[in-house]
C-alpha cells in the first residue's frame, strides 16, 4: 500500500494548481536521474522506446524502463513517475478533463525529446520498394493528394478534427480538436523549432539523426539482422523521387493502380487527419485514386501489412522502418509527414521535490 498514501493526498487537491513552482528549479537531468533510480520511467516499448533509451544513455543511466500500457493509469497512480506521452494524445489526456482525461491541467510538466537532442522522426508514408517501382505514378498521385490533405488540415485543424470525427473516429470530439492542433504543430515545426512549409519533406539531418539513434538502440537477437541494421544508409530506407514527382506535378496522373489502401499506425484519429481530409475533400478522387484507409493499432504491424501486400501504403515511424528493413523487408519511405518528435516524458513536479 505504499502508493496509496500519496495518491490519496492528491485526491484532495485535484483541480487546485496551487503549489507547483517548487519543482521548477529542478533540471530535466535531475528528474530523469531520480526517476531512473526509482525504476519508474515508463514507455510502451514495441519500437517506441529508442528516444527514451537514448535519453537515459545521455545521462549515463541504465536502460531499464517499465512497460506502460496505452493508458496513463500508471502515471495517475504514481507507479510510473516519468511517463511517455505523445504531445497530441496522452499529454492531452493527462491535462484535460474531458471524458477519458485525467484532468491534471497545468500541474504536470514534461521533458521534450526535441529539446534533449534525442528526437527521432515519426509518422511517414511508406510502401514496398517493389510496389513503388511498379506503380511510380500511383505513388506520386497518392503523395500529391495526401500532402494536399495535410496542407488543408494544418491550416484548418478544427475542420479537420470534425472530418476525422465523422469518419468513425474512436475519439471524443473535444480530444479530437486538441489532437488536431497539436498534430498540426508537429507537421509544421522541425526538431529545432523552425517552421516548415515544405510538408512531407525528408530532412537529411533529422533523418540521419533518427537512423543513428536507431542503429545504436535497436537491439536485435538475430545477428544477420543486426549486421544489416548497422550497414543501413538513408538510401536504403527512403526514396525522395516520388515526392519530387508529386511536387512538380500539375495534379494529373496516369495511375497504374487506382484502388489503393493505406494502413495507419494507430487508431483512426486526428493523428492521421491529412488522409481523412484528402478523402473527404475528394483529393484522392481528383488524382484518379480510390483510397481505403485501414485503421491501425492492431497486432499486425503496419510494416508487415504493407510487406505482405494486404495494404499498399502505410504510416510508420522511421525507426520501425529501419528495423523492418534490417529484418529483411524491402520498404521505402516516400514522404515524411511529422517533422519533429511528438514524444515527451511527463511528470508530476511534486513527485520530485
Amino acid at each position: 500500500f505504499t502508493g496509496c498514501g500519496s495518491s490519496k493526498e492528491e485526491t484532495t487537491q485535484t483541480g487546485s494548481s496551487a503549489e507547483q513552482s517548487s519543482a521548477a528549479e529542478l533540471s530535466s537531468e535531475d528528474i530523469i536521474k531520480a526517476a531512473a533510480e526509482n525504476g519508474s520511467v515508463g514507455n510502451w516499448g514495441l519500437g517506441n522506446e529508442y528516444e527514451v533509451l537514448a535519453l537515459l544513455s545521455k545521462y549515463d543511466l541504465g536502460s531499464d524502463y517499465l512497460s506502460q500500457d496505452f493508458t496513463m493509469d500508471g502515471f495517475d497512480d504514481d507507479s510510473i513517475t516519468l511517463a511517455s506521452a505523445m504531445t497530441y494524445n496522452e499529454l492531452g489526456l493527462v491535462k484535460n478533463d474531458y471524458d477519458g482525461g485525467y484532468g491534471y491541467g497545468d500541474s504536470v510538466e514534461y521533458i521534450d525529446m526535441n529539446d534533449e537532442g534525442v528526437a527521432m522522426l515519426e509518422d511517414n508514408i511508406f510502401c514496398t520498394e517493389d510496389f513503388a517501382k511498379e506503380n511510380p505514378n500511383t505513388v506520386a498521385a497518392f503523395l500529391y493528394a495526401s500532402l494536399k490533405g495535410w496542407e488543408y488540415a494544418v491550416e484548418n485543424p478544427e475542420e479537420a478534427a470534425e472530418i476525422c470525427y465523422t469518419y468513425g473516429s474512436s475519439v471524443s470530439a473535444e480530444h479530437q480538436a486538441y489532437m488536431a492542433e497539436e498534430v498540426a504543430k508537429l507537421v509544421t515545426t522541425d526538431t529545432q523549432g523552425e517552421t516548415v512549409t515544405d510538408i512531407g519533406n525528408m530532412d537529411e539531418d533529422a533523418m540521419q539523426q533518427t537512423l543513428d539513434i536507431a542503429k545504436e538502440y535497436i537491439s536485435l537477437d538475430d545477428s544477420d539482422a543486426d549486421a544489416a541494421l548497422q550497414s543501413l544508409t538513408l538510401d536504403d530506407i527512403r526514396d525522395s523521387s516520388y515526392l519530387e514527382a508529386a511536387k512538380s506535378s500539375d495534379g494529373t496522373f496516369d495511375v497504374e493502380k487506382s484502388e489503393v489502401s493505406i494502413q495507419l499506425k494507430w487508431l483512426p484519429d486526428a493523428q492521421f487527419m491529412g488522409y481523412y481530409v484528402a478523402l473527404d475533400k475528394g483529393y484522392y478522387k481528383e488524382v484518379g485514386l480510390d483510397v481505403e484507409i485501414v485503421a491501425g493499432g492492431g497486432d499486425i504491424a503496419e510494416t508487415t501489412a504493407v510487406n505482405n501486400g494486404t495494404v499498399d501504403f502505410g504510416v510508420t515511424w522511421v525507426s520501425n522502418l529501419a528495423s523492418a528493413n534490417a529484418g529483411g523487408m524491402n520498404l521505402v519511405e516516400v514522404a515524411q509527414i511529422f517533422q519533429r518528435s511528438g514524444l515527451v516524458l511527463v511528470y508530476k513536479p511534486e513527485n520530485f521535490e
Binding site: C4, S7, K8, E10, T11, T14, D69, F70, T71, M72, D73, D76, D77, L93, D99, G100, G101, Y102, Y165, T166, Y167, G168, S169, S170, V171, S172, Q263, L264, L267, P268, D269, V294, A295, G296, G297, G298, D299, I300, T304, A305, N308, T310
Partner: protein, 296 residues
C-alpha cells in the same frame, strides 16, 4: 409439472444467488477503490455507473451510444466466433474420431494439436493471412483453431470412456464401426462432448475478440482496445467485460439446454411421451367413434 417448475426456479436461484454475491463483493471493492484511487472508474467503477453508461444516450464515438457501439461491434465478433466455433467443433470432433480409430494417429498427432494451440495468434496470423489472403477469413480460422482442441480432447476422452463390456457386445454382433459409433460410442460420449463444447465456447469468443485486434477495423476487440487506450470512454471497456461474461453464462446455459435435449436417454423419453400421447388420442378417437356408431 409443479415439481419441474420448482426445480427450474431453484436452478435460476443459485445462479442469481451467485451473481448477487459477486455484485455485492464488487460494490464493496468499488467503494474502497473510490476512496483510495484518483480515477476509480479506470480500476473498478460502481455497477450503477456501468449501468448508467449502458443506458446513456450520449454518443461515445461518432454518433453511436456506448451500448449501440458495443452491440454493433459484438455482431461482427460473435458471428465470427460462432462460425469459428462450429468449424472448430466439427474439426475437433472428426479428429477425435480419427484418434479413437487409430492409436498411431493419436500418438502421432495429439502432441502437435496441442502445439498448434501454443503458437500465439501473433505468430499464426501472418501465416494464416498469407494462406487465405483475407483478414476476415484469417480471423475465423484462428478462432476455429483456438476452439477445436477442447472439443477434440473431451470427445476423445468420452469415446474412450465406454465400458469394455458394451464394446464386447457390439464386437460379438460384428457391428460395423459406424454402427458402434452410432449406437454406443457417441451416446456415451455426449456428456463429454458437451463439456468440451462448454469449455470451447468462451474460448471461441475470447479468440474472436483477440483476433479482432489484428487490424483496427471493427469488432469488440477493437473497441475494447480503443477504450482501453482511452480513445473513448472507459465505460465502453467495462460494458464489454460484462457483455462477454454474459455471453459466457448464456452459452453455458444454452449448451446445457441443448445437452439435455440431445442426451440419448431424454430423446428416448420424448419418443415414449409422444407415443403415449398418440395412443391416448387414438383410443379417444376410437371411443368417440364407438359412441357415434352406437348412437347411430
Amino acid at each position: 409439472m409443479r415439481k419441474f417448475k420448482g426445480l427450474l426456479e431453484k436452478k435460476w436461484f443459485s445462479t442469481i444467488f451467485w451473481i448477487i454475491l459477486l455484485a455485492a463483493g464488487w460494490e464493496i471493492a468499488a467503494v474502497y477503490v473510490g476512496y483510495v484511487k484518483r480515477t476509480p472508474e479506470n480500476i473498478l467503477p460502481h455497477l450503477y455507473q456501468i449501468v448508467a453508461a449502458a443506458i446513456s444516450k450520449d454518443p461515445v464515438s461518432a454518433d453511436m451510444t456506448a451500448t449501440g457501439l458495443v452491440l454493433s461491434a459484438a455482431a461482427a465478433t460473435i458471428l465470427r466466433a460462432v462460425v469459428g466455433y462450429v468449424i472448430g467443433m466439427i474439426v475437433g470432433f472428426i479428429l477425435a474420431v480419427l484418434m479413437k480409430m487409430s492409436g498411431i494417429i493419436e500418438k502421432m498427432f495429439f502432441p502437435y494439436l496441442m502445439l498448434i494451440l501454443l503458437i500465439p495468434v501473433l505468430g499464426m496470423a501472418p501465416i494464416v493471412l498469407a494462406v487465405t489472403g483475407d483478414i476476415d477469413k484469417s480471423r475465423i480460422i484462428i478462432a476455429a483453431i483456438l476452439s477445436f482442441y477442447p472439443v477434440a480432447t473431451n470427445t476423445l476422452a468420452g469415446l474412450k470412456s465406454v465400458p469394455k463390456e458394451q464394446l464386447d457386445l457390439m464386437f460379438i454382433y460384428a457391428a460395423k464401426p459406424i454402427e458402434v459409433y452410432k449406437k454406443v460410442l457417441l451416446p456415451t460420449a455426449v456428456p463429454y462432448i458437451f463439456s468440451g463444447l462448454k469449455i470451447a465456447a468462451p474460448m471461441a469468443i475470447t479468440a474472436s475478440i483477440l483476433v479482432d485486434t489484428l487490424q483496427g477495423d471493427g469488432g469488440l476487440g477493437c473497441i475494447l482496445s480503443q477504450s482501453l487506450k482511452h480513445a473513448m470512454s472507459i465505460y465502453v471497456f467495462w460494458l464489454i467485460v460484462f457483455f462477454s461474461a454474459f455471453i459466457g453464462i448464456g452459452s453455458t446455459y444454452l449448451l446445457g439446454g441443448i445437452e439435455q435435449f440431445m442426451l440419448p436417454e431424454n430423446r428416448n423419453k420424448r419418443k415414449i411421451k409422444r407415443k403415449v400421447m398418440k395412443d391416448e388420442r387414438r383410443s379417444l378417437q376410437e371411443k368417440e367413434e364407438l359412441i357415434c356408431q352406437s348412437k347411430i
